[in-house]
Amino acid sequence: MEKYWGFIIPVVSVLVALIIAAFVILSVGKSPVEAYIIMVKGAFGSAGAIVNTIVKTAPLVLTGLAVGFGFRAGVFNIGAEGQMIMGALTATAVGINLGWAPPYFALSLTIISGMLAGAGWAAIAGYLKAKTGAHEVVTTIMLNWIATYLSAYMVQVPLAVGSGTPKSPEIAPSAKLPVLMKVGPLEMSAGIIISVIAAIVMYVVLEKTTMGYEVKAAGFNPYAAEYGGISISKNITMSMAISGALAGLAGVVELMGVHHRFLGTLSGGKGFDGISIALIGQNHPIGIIFAALLMGALRTGSNEMQFAGISKHIVMIIQGIVIFLVAADRIVRTMILWRKRRKVKA
């Protein structure tokens, strides 16, 4: 049984959250059954809907991996949002200047610059934790807001173009991710492939390499790991940097695959969603892919619900409850065991 808890807990948590959210929908005078049908149709009901869901899922896989990798390494990277913004912002600055470059060069340079920016932004928090003990949760929150305002400034002044929503110019065509599929106006870029590859790489690194073993050891018990010859301060900075690179990549995918320019704040809470996704996916790369798909579907489906007069805030309620239940896995365990015991008695 113990082996399956990692799967059972998130699934039961999601179901319980959907049930509780149904009561909230009921309380504002709507039918929860109808709402959920609209939601599922909105997320998977047509080719366009499915493409939309996958497009939304791609960056979420990456922010989920970013946070999940951090958890495995024993750091709480709450700053995926800021790292994603910095990644996209840097990739924008690089991508708009690559009109002369051939695609393979433009693509790789833009992607790498974005990942490095995310890594560097996260490494600030890692370095501060290692050197001064400043808690990474608080420093990354600060870095999130600094990144938000910095990017707002950048697209309003140095990179600004046109009027209306603050935005940068479009990146060079050679720096746009190739389009895999087109349904009407919707394009699905290679972003989802990048995300899945990243998940596989993370799985291999964590499970099959010495580095992965060290990272997990440091995350599991830092004192024992240090005694065993693993440098904790180096590990913290490096783990944060890798986590940040993944979040930066999320920004890159969103930029190069969807908007093709830095638009508004770009991240739109996807970095924060990464925290929920990592928790629901139990920090396992494969789990994270499914959790990201769930969040992507909820986000896409809730847009449809909004048209039907049900606020898409319902997603936040579902998300909040799922996180509570997954984090407090004792509640779910007790619920399941209690039901079993009743069955045995009966």
């Binding site: 001064t132 400043a134 309003q156 509570f324 407090a328």
Partner: protein, 309 residues
């Protein structure tokens, strides 16, 4: 630019931050980290507005927002103190729940005007040049903020109960050995902190404006978390920090209104976070400095009688 007007606006912008910051100071002093401030403020703003809208009674609205804030914080208390769930995770979930719930329940109330607190001048004091109109010609909740801050500063540092609160946040095991009920103190501190934070939200819908907007706290909960550190867990410094940031906010709005580009606006808004980040580094570098004014030692660490940390 009119100095009196600017100062007066700084106080008004600073007051919701002040309520949330001193609330979080109480909570963190007991060793509980609550990152759910944004959600709590939204629930407070929503509760306040709906009550004011349907009854027209502002003080009842304010009181109910305190109650709802405490109840909402009870979720975090139960999760982090009783179940010993990761406090960061629980706080984030609380924020999501608060924004989601207030957003969906409040949808019907968007754009409807209600009543709001009006400025009341304090006779005598309002006559002081510049300071008088800025500090003593405000709405009653601003005055509540003054009294609350001084009361809490006295409570935390000068009373036996305040000493107990700090002891629980620094050395829960030692406090437990002295016969203090660590769980009870932490529950109480989290509930009181939640109530005050929600009151900060209520200020937004009852005094700063007279309406409800989705997500109207607009990141103020996170600013309060920065301010707690900036203020080194001291209510008096929190007052200074809140009004200082209120000043930055009102300055930014004026710059925007005068059409002076948004350049300075975004960079100005970045300042509090930058300053907090730098001050965190400075606090952390020096060990004795950290002990004297740093975070409560047991902050974010769940307490269990069986496990020794």
């Amino acid at each position: 630019m009119n100095v009196e007007g600017l100062l007066s606006a700084s106080i008004r912008y600073g007051t919701p931050l002040l309520f949330a910051t001193v609330g979080e100071i109480i909570t963190e002093r007991s060793g509980v980290l609550n990152l759910g401030l944004e959600g709590l403020m939204l629930m407070g703003a929503f509760t306040g507005f709906v009550t004011a809208y349907s009854t027209g009674n502002l003080w009842l609205a304010f009181t109910l927002s305190l109650v709802v804030g405490a109840l909402f914080a009870l979720i975090h208390a139960f999760m982090s103190i009783t179940l010993r769930v990761n406090q960061v995770v629980s706080g984030l979930a609380l924020t999501m729940l608060g924004s989601g719930l207030s957003g969906i329940l409040g949808r019907a109330y968007v754009g409807r005007p209600a009543v709001m607190f009006q400025p009341v001048a304090i006779p005598g004091l309002e006559k002081i040049p510049v300071i008088g109109p800025a500090f003593f010609k405000q709405d009653p909740l601003v005055y509540v903020g003054y009294v609350l801050t001084f009361f809490l500063a006295w409570f935390i540092f000068k009373t036996k109960a305040g000493l107990t609160l700090r002891a629980v946040g620094e050395e829960p095991a030692a406090a437990d050995a002295r016969g203090v009920n660590v769980f009870w103190v932490r529950y109480l501190a989290t509930l009181v902190g939640g109530a005050l934070t929600a009151a900060g939200g209520a200020y937004l819908s009852l005094a700063a404006t007279s309406m409800w907007m989705e997500n109207m706290s607009a990141g103020r909960g996170w600013i309060a978390i920065a301010l707690v550190i900036f203020a080194a867990w001291d209510p008096l410094k929190a007052m200074l920090g809140s009004y200082l940031f209120g000043f930055i906010m009102s300055l930014q709005f004026r710059l925007q209104a005068t059409g002076e580009v948004h350049v300075s606006a975004n960079l100005l808004l970045m300042l509090p976070y930058l300053v907090t980040l730098v001050s965190m580094v400075l606090f952390s570098i020096n060990e004795s400095f950290r002990k004297r004014i740093g975070a409560p030692s047991a902050l974010g660490v769940p307490y269990s009688r069986e496990e020794k940390t």
